[in-house]
Amino acid sequence: ASDARGDVVVAAAADTRDAFNEIAAQLSERDGITVEFVFGSSGLLREQVLNGAPFDVYVSANVAFVDEVVQAGAGVAESQRQFAVGRLALISAEGVALPANLDSLSQFGRVVIANPAHAPYGVAAKEALQSLGDYGQLASRLILADNVADAVRIVDAGEADVGIVALSLVIGRAHVEVPATLHQPIRQSIVITTRGAGNDAARRFVEALESQEGRAVLSRYGFTVDSP
């Protein structure tokens, strides 16, 4: 239905796309609530939330952004939660063997990560590389993608041999998980916006994430959730 609005509009970081679509499908089936998603970069979505975007829920992989929204009075403080932790994974281009682990990256050509200047997965990837002491030497071969979804696409186009991306986006394909100990946790934060405060569907969506089914879906997509 084109012009019929969803019951709740969720603005969410790109790494949640696949998992959220599935959770929304469950919610629609079970409670008849339709969820409309606006996926984008956490940074740009934050600016929009701050300037009056009609989003009921804001989801970011960067806790600081959510804090900022709450501090600016655009988010309901009590609703703020960290609902999952994201993980990194290595993928490789078609025809390129998967690296066994992060240590072996020096044998590959270009490596793509999300831009650590603003993308949480980029920050994490940088930390992981740094903790192995590889970052400086790798820097000139690094491509900084706009966001994790872009990073996946650059690998798919064959323009980078290897990508360090969100596990949640590559769960269905060959990948190597990056040990979570190599970087700070990528905490997925959620908050109901001031606009969405009175929207029951917004609350139901947040609950759905925290429900048993929701957590099952998230963990299937590679997010770490507190054991149900």
Binding site: A1, R5, E36, V38, F39, N51, G52, A53, P54, R153
Partner: protein, 219 residues
């Protein structure tokens, strides 16, 4: 693509934006061209600036300027009852601002190139200034104005960055075709992206051929 909403929205937004930018841009270009001052090219350079900013950044500044927290945005809301940003009006504003510099610069060049002697002779014939503009200057500058409007339309139709910031990417409400294409690319939905691009291209070709013909001087 099984959802035609982005197509209609894009058509509507880009046509309205082109008309607004066309009228406004030609008026500004006319004033700049007739303004015999060294400042004219400085002002012209400044109005060209929106092109130099990445559209997203332009959109960011527009959002700050027109958002619900800005005084402009608040006046709009109190006048029209709904906010300007994240609505179709917002999309029109973003597309208009993106298109305007193209119209201005191309039209200004064409208007400046019109032979002043022909305009003089029209004044001596007794035509008032606005009729000189309508009967002589603008028709003789038509091709250049047409080029500006064509570029402006293309820019308005294709705008992604500014629209996505100012109007959002709200499916069924403010999701224009370029935004939908971008979204499809992000989602890895190549088929939709390809169809969307083709449709965009097809519309553009039809409209651009039409615009070019419309502004080609006859006689």
């Amino acid at each position: 693509m099984n959802d035609w909403f982005p197509l209609w929205l894009s058509l509507r937004v880009s046509v309205i934006a082109t008309i607004v930018a066309g009228v406004l841009g030609v008026a500004i270009a006319y004033v700049l061209a007739k303004w015999r001052s060294r400042w004219a090219s400085l002002v012209e350079a400044v109005v060209t600036l929106p092109i130099v900013l990445p559209p997203t950044v332009l959109g960011y500044y527009l959002l700050t300027l027109l958002g619900t927290r800005s005084s402009l945005g608040q006046s709009w809301e109190s006048l029209f009852g709904s906010p300007l940003v994240f609505t179709q009006s917002g999309a029109v504003v973003a597309a208009t601002v993106s298109a305007l510099p193209f119209v201005i610069r191309a039209a200004r060049a064409a208007i400046s190139n019109v032979d002043a002697r022909v305009e003089e002779s029209a004044r001596v014939m007794g035509l008032a200034e606005w009729r000189v503009a309508r009967v002589v200057t603008l028709p003789l500058a038509a091709r250049g104005i047409g080029a500006g409007i064509a570029l402006g339309f293309a820019r308005a139709l294709g705008d992604f960055g500014a629209t996505v910031m100012v109007a959002g990417n709200i499916p069924g409400q403010t999701q224009t075709l370029p935004v939908a294409v971008y979204d499809a690319v992000q989602a890895g939905d190549d088929a939709t992206a390809r169809t969307g691009s083709l449709v965009l291209g097809a519309i553009a070709v039809v409209v651009l051929v039409f615009v070019t013909q419309l502004f080609a001087r006859r006689r």
